[in-house]
């Protein structure tokens, strides 16, 4: 779990200003697809399926706001600085969060190295982590497939970048 003051190890990615409302339909479609492919995920979440999670990729210009409730599924982007009501917040660099989702990185190890910050309802976060970790096919792969060959090319590039970032982090004393 990282102190947020230490987490960002560099400038934010140079993305152009993004009208977030354009992202929301895509994010909702992604959430519906992942939910449809992984119905067991909600059993592991138990009562925390009703919780709102704020996911903060600290080097991106927006955050993600998720309620993993199969009956009221919601996934959208919110601007930095916004603090919509949430049970728990998880923060880390985008590529480390992606590696976590991919099952390439261990959440406890990111906690020990302080590359991940969690605040709020710890049980909700642990539950979400455990539920996602039991998903066999990486969520990012499901998302990439939704966008066909360009999605898969983008995922390959992101995975390579994530692997480089992991290697750099592990090489640090």
């Amino acid at each position: 779990m990282t102190d947020a003051s230490r987490t960002p190890r560099g400038p934010r990615l140079p993305l152009p200003p993004l009208p977030l409302f354009l992202l929301d339909p895509i994010l909702r479609r992604v959430a519906r697809k992942v939910a449809a492919e992984n119905p067991d995920l909600f059993d592991r979440l138990g009562e925390h399926r009703h919780s709102w999670f704020l996911i903060d990729p600290v080097n991106l210009p927006f955050m993600l706001y998720l309620r993993p409730d199969p009956d009221a599924l919601d996934f959208r982007a919110v601007p930095k600085g916004a603090t919509p009501p949430h049970a728990a917040r998880i923060a880390g660099r985008f590529l480390r969060l992606l590696s976590l989702m991919e099952g390439d990185e261990d959440g406890d190890a990111l906690f020990f190295s302080r590359d991940l910050t969690v605040t709020g309802d710890t049980e909700a976060i642990v539950c979400l982590r455990n539920a996602l970790d039991d998903v066999e096919r990486p969520v990012a792969e499901t998302v990439a497939d939704m966008f066909g060959p360009p999605g898969r090319i983008a995922l390959r590039a992101l995975r390579e970048a994530a692997a480089r970032e992991r290697q750099q982090a592990e090489a640090q004393p």
């Binding site: 779990m1 003051s5 605040t119 049980e123 539950c127």
Partner: protein
Amino acid sequence: MTRPELICPAGTPAALRAAVDAGADAVYCGFQNATNARNFVGLNFTPQEMAKSIAYSHERGAKVLVTLNTFPPAGKLALWYGAVDLCAELGADAIIVADIATADYAHRAHPGLRIHLSVQAAASSPEAIAWYVREFGVRRVVLPRIMTVGEIAGLVADIPCEVETFIFGNHGLMVEGRCSLTTYATGQSTNMDGACSPAACVAYDREPDGSLATRLSGFTIDRFGPGDTAGYPTICKGRYLAPCREDGYYAFEEPVSLNASAMLGELIAAGVHAFKIEGRQRSKAYVKKVVAAFRAAVDAIAEGREPELADLVALTEGQKQTEGALKTKRWR
């Protein structure tokens, strides 16, 4: 040279498959209730998942050992007895038990079901172990993490069952199965409810000075500066202020993981039958990396080659590792 079994952790079916695919000889895992000493939210197996996981493992030549390693409260044995029956019905290769009533029931009701004595039973003397073997037909004992290799070698020669030792993961040095430290703070029993520092009782708070405070049921148990590595939110790994010390210090244990990878040859020579990797609360990424590393190391030693030891420090608690009591009783 005997090649010890590699016993690997799984908190989810996906982690179990990762362990089997990475070369585990056996995987240990538990149900989603208080029979299991890793009774954490979102973790563990339903009976249906256990059945599928046993089938997956057996198809690939791996065993499944089910952890029923907690202590039933007085008069509430039904949950534990039911779990024993379920393990027999599902074809588990062994159950890992700590409680004598559970062991006694399994021995009488399912004489063909193999019983391993959990580390939670804290049995480390030849007399204690021989008693469990005689009374309940225990086939293997998991030794507490407080013994040197020399002591283990002496014990192996004196007891009528197999020996399993931890080689990686949590470095718990309390008298296992007896530790009630977090129970005083949380009101939940580590040994009967199966949850040491349950996540619902844990909070991480940013302090005004920028540090991060770890609290368990409102008690501050550690505070990390921006550059500090962190450990688990358990009282035994907490840092405390005391009149005899200038700064906070680790009064019980430091956040550090056991890593006996450089001692595998000595442990094999001591007659250890099985090596255990701790970490059912960890991710499948951890399982995959640690199991693969130890699979390669054990195979290399068994084939007379020098093992190439993978660097696992990034996965250790507090990013620190020790050979602990296996090396010396004076590890701190």
